[in-house]
């Protein structure tokens, strides 16, 4: 089976190679292969000079890294990935939110690591648009995770207008001839 990811709401071929450093491997001396590569933040920082001339470099952030450190370079990356070391680690959601909302990142934002079907709806809401889902699970099933809810209460990256501004909402029965609720 080819290496696939979810992009937008489709399953597509994964064109990017993900570089993870082995234990003890130095960021400065790690070899970055040719072609499209998503490198760890540390590698980007250590090898910025040589990597910056390439147009096929993306970067990934660990869940304890601050997206602000990429501020100057942000728009040069066609892809930024955020790692979920465990599906219960929710830091990546806030990192994504800030990458999109505070820093205005416009490129592909990819969730990597322990990415499972039941996280995709939230991930999409905070600004992810690509999902490298866990390879031991069906990617077709995971796709269903994107369409769980058709309405949401609060604003996020996907919809900056909260429900209370988006729609004329119900009012109590005595204030509304049509009656409240269903």
């Amino acid at each position: 089976m080819p290496d696939q990811i979810i992009k937008g709401r489709s399953i597509v071929r994964n064109e990017w190679q993900l570089l993870r450093l082995a234990e003890g491997q130095e960021a400065a001396s790690a070899e970055v292969p040719a072609g499209k590569v998503i490198v760890p933040l540390a590698v980007w920082e250590a090898q910025r000079e040589t990597l910056a001339v390439r147009g096929d470099i993306g970067v990934w952030l660990a869940s304890d890294q601050r997206p602000e450190v990429l501020k100057e370079d942000l728009q040069r990356f066609p892809v930024i990935a955020v790692d979920f070391p465990k599906f219960t680690d929710g830091r990546g959601y806030s990192i994504a939110f800030n990458l999109r909302m505070r820093l205005g990142y416009k490129g592909e934002l990819r969730a990597i690591g322990d990415v499972l079907r039941d996280q995709l709806f939230q991930m999409q809401r905070v600004g992810f648009d690509a999902y490298d889902t866990r390879p031991d699970r069906s990617i077709e099933d995971a796709l269903k995770g994107l369409t769980v809810f058709s309405e949401t209460y609060q604003a996020s990256v996907d919809n900056r207008i909260p429900l209370f501004r988006r729609h004329q909402r119900g009012t109590p029965a005595e204030h509304n001839d049509a009656g409240a609720g269903i």
């Binding site: 601050r66 219960t88 929710g90 959601y93 806030s94 991930m123 996020s156 009012t171 269903i182």
Partner: protein
């Protein structure tokens, strides 16, 4: 009270469909138990000692009679005929089958209820004052804001996998009846000099193994910024709260590590980019929600001296004194239905009692009820002229125990009889103490006292803020109880101090007896136990309790009843 509109219905229905499919996948082996765990917890489903336990949200403690009847239905159809009201103003059912949980959620949705985020590492059910809307000392009814927070926090995409659980309480009155100082975020409604409504924001309170009172990080937050400011707090916590140790993962630990000023600075920095965005509340939205919590259609009635009219009936007088609370509308009173009858686990109600309470609400209190964080039920709008009739009815159902605020109005977690986290039992301790002191004159003489019992360090029984707090601990495989005194909730919140080495279950009634003896000896006129304890410190109590050995009474009442 709030009523769902089409969007609330839609979201809750889609949630049920999502959860139903998650249960299906779990049963089909497509989800491991490890993967299913956070999903079911977000639906209030725990695996307990004997079976699954389902915790249902009662937003800010407010219930309609129809909703209460649904609890009775769930108790009968899916459980063993009773439910347990909790210190988080929720209800729990202890004997639930996993396969049936989606159907229970569907039943709940039919009365505009759910079990969303009653557990798990997310923003939990927002709690509030059980007398909201009727309290004379209220500045502004906090419930519309609690509802705003409920909706905003429901499935908030960014805050469903926080470092730990997150609890928010909101109080709208001068007196804090929502225990805001022991919540992750405690909000108090305030008006500034210009008459504008806002919130004093307290962060980092909590009990558990590191009991800390919250710190004020903002004296006045204009109300329209409630959501953006809360979001800023949550984002700082989500990113920088500890995740390496679950016992150090609450926001209070982050706040302590950073210091209040630095934490507040980071929140303000995060907020700077959110302030004024579309998430800012609109006046229209606030007015829409406030309209759901308008005062009921009260009659114009005079205040009646009910006590004088029935001065010859001592039992009724006791009940009036303890279980009936003032109301801001003349001619009305708020009534507490005691779920603390001796011999019954605190907070438990049978299906029959639930149906009965729903019926009472219909006939006496505009079809509404409230769940208190002391695990009782309130009928908030009873005409004073009907108090005697009401009392006569509830006496027969075991709901008229005149003990609200007294020694036997015990806050108690389910403990080792049910909870898999517990180190020790708590219900039999409560039962033994209640039985030993089941003498109404003595209880009334002791007066206001909060006896809070937790079966483990997680402190669901709020032992840290009890006038007397009892904590079950495990020592070499047997159950022991550590005692603290001087804790308090409300405006003068305080964490109790441990008096010394722990006791066996059998010794506990006598320990309480000795503490009370010191109190009775040392108190000044009208001084409450907690005030005496705080004035004297633990010294005299400790000296007396440990002065002579305490005999071990026989087997405790209720012990092993649930084994």
């Amino acid at each position: 009270m709030y009523q769902y509109d089409q969007y609330d219905h839609l979201i809750v229905q889609e949630r049920i469909a999502q959860y139903r499919d998650q249960v299906r996948r779990r049963l089909a082996g497509e989800l491991t138990e490890e993967e299913f765990l956070p999903l079911r917890l977000q639906n209030g489903l725990y695996m307990q000692r004997h079976a699954y336990m389902l915790r249902i949200a009662v937003p800010y403690g407010l219930l309609s009679s129809k909703q209460m009847r649904m609890f009775a239905h769930i108790a009968r159809k899916y459980d063993r005929g009773y439910g347990h009201f909790t210190t988080r103003q929720n209800i729990q059912f202890n004997w639930i089958e996993l396969e049936q949980t989606p159907d229970i959620l569907a039943d709940l949705a039919s009365v505009e209820m759910h079990a969303n985020q009653t557990s798990g590492n997310c923003i939990r059910n927002v709690t509030s004052d059980e007398y909201a809307g009727v309290a004379a000392d209220e500045i502004i009814d906090p419930r519309p804001y609690a509802e705003v927070l409920r909706q905003w926090s429901t499935f908030h995409p960014e805050f469903l996998a926080l470092p730990r659980k997150f609890k928010v309480a909101i109080n709208g009155a001068l007196e804090d009846r929502a225990a805001i100082a022991v919540h992750d975020i405690g909000l108090t409604v305030v008006k500034n000099e210009a008459g504008e409504i806002g919130f004093k924001v307290m962060v980092g309170g909590g009990m558990g193994r590191t009991p800390i009172l919250g710190s004020v990080i903002r004296e006045f937050l204009p109300r329209e910024h409630l959501l953006t400011y809360t979001e800023a707090i949550m984002r700082v916590y989500n990113q920088y709260g500890r995740r390496d140790n679950k016992y150090k993962a609450r926001i209070k630990i982050l706040l302590k590590a950073l210091g209040v000023e630095e934490f507040a600075r980071q929140v303000e920095e995060e907020w700077a980019d959110l302030k004024g965005t579309e998430q800012t509340l609109t006046l229209e939205e606030m007015e829409r929600l406030v309209a759901y919590f308008q005062p009921h259609a009260y009659e114009t009635l005079p205040n009646i001296d009910v006590a004088a009219a029935h001065a010859d009936n001592r039992a009724f007088a006791n009940w009036l004194k303890r279980n009936v609370k003032p109301h801001k509308v003349p001619g009305y009173a708020a009534v507490v239905l005691s779920l603390k009858k001796t011999g019954v686990p605190p907070g438990d109600a049978t299906a029959q009692q639930m149906d009965f309470m729903a019926d009472l609400a219909d006939r006496y209190s505009f079809s509404e009820l409230r769940v208190t964080h002391e695990q009782n039920i309130v009928l908030a709008d009873v005409e004073q002229s009907k108090l005697f009739a009401l009392w006569t009815e509830i006496k027969a159902q075991g709901l008229a125990t005149p003990n609200i605020g007294l020694l036997t109005d015990i806050i108690c977690c389910p403990g080792g009889d049910f909870c898999s986290l517990a180190n020790a039992k708590s219900i039999p301790i409560a039962a033994a103490i209640a039985e030993r002191f089941d003498h109404i004159d003595y209880l009334h003489d002791i007066g206001d006292i909060e006896l809070n019992i937790s079966g483990c360090i997680n402190a669901c029984g709020h032992h840290h803020v009890g006038s007397i707090g009892v904590l079950g601990v495990d020592k070499d495989g047997s159950e022991w109880y550590q005692v603290s005194i001087g804790g308090s909730q409300g405006n003068n919140s305080a964490i109790g101090k441990i008096i010394g080495p722990s006791f066996s279950a059998q010794q506990m009634p006598e320990v309480i007896g000795r503490l009370l003896q010191v109190y009775v000896r040392e108190r000044t006129p009208d001084e409450r136990f907690v005030d005496t304890a705080q004035r004297l410190g633990i010294g005299p109590f400790k000296d007396f309790v440990y002065a002579t050995p305490i005999a071990e009474a026989g087997r405790l009442v209720g012990e092993d009843e649930y084994a």
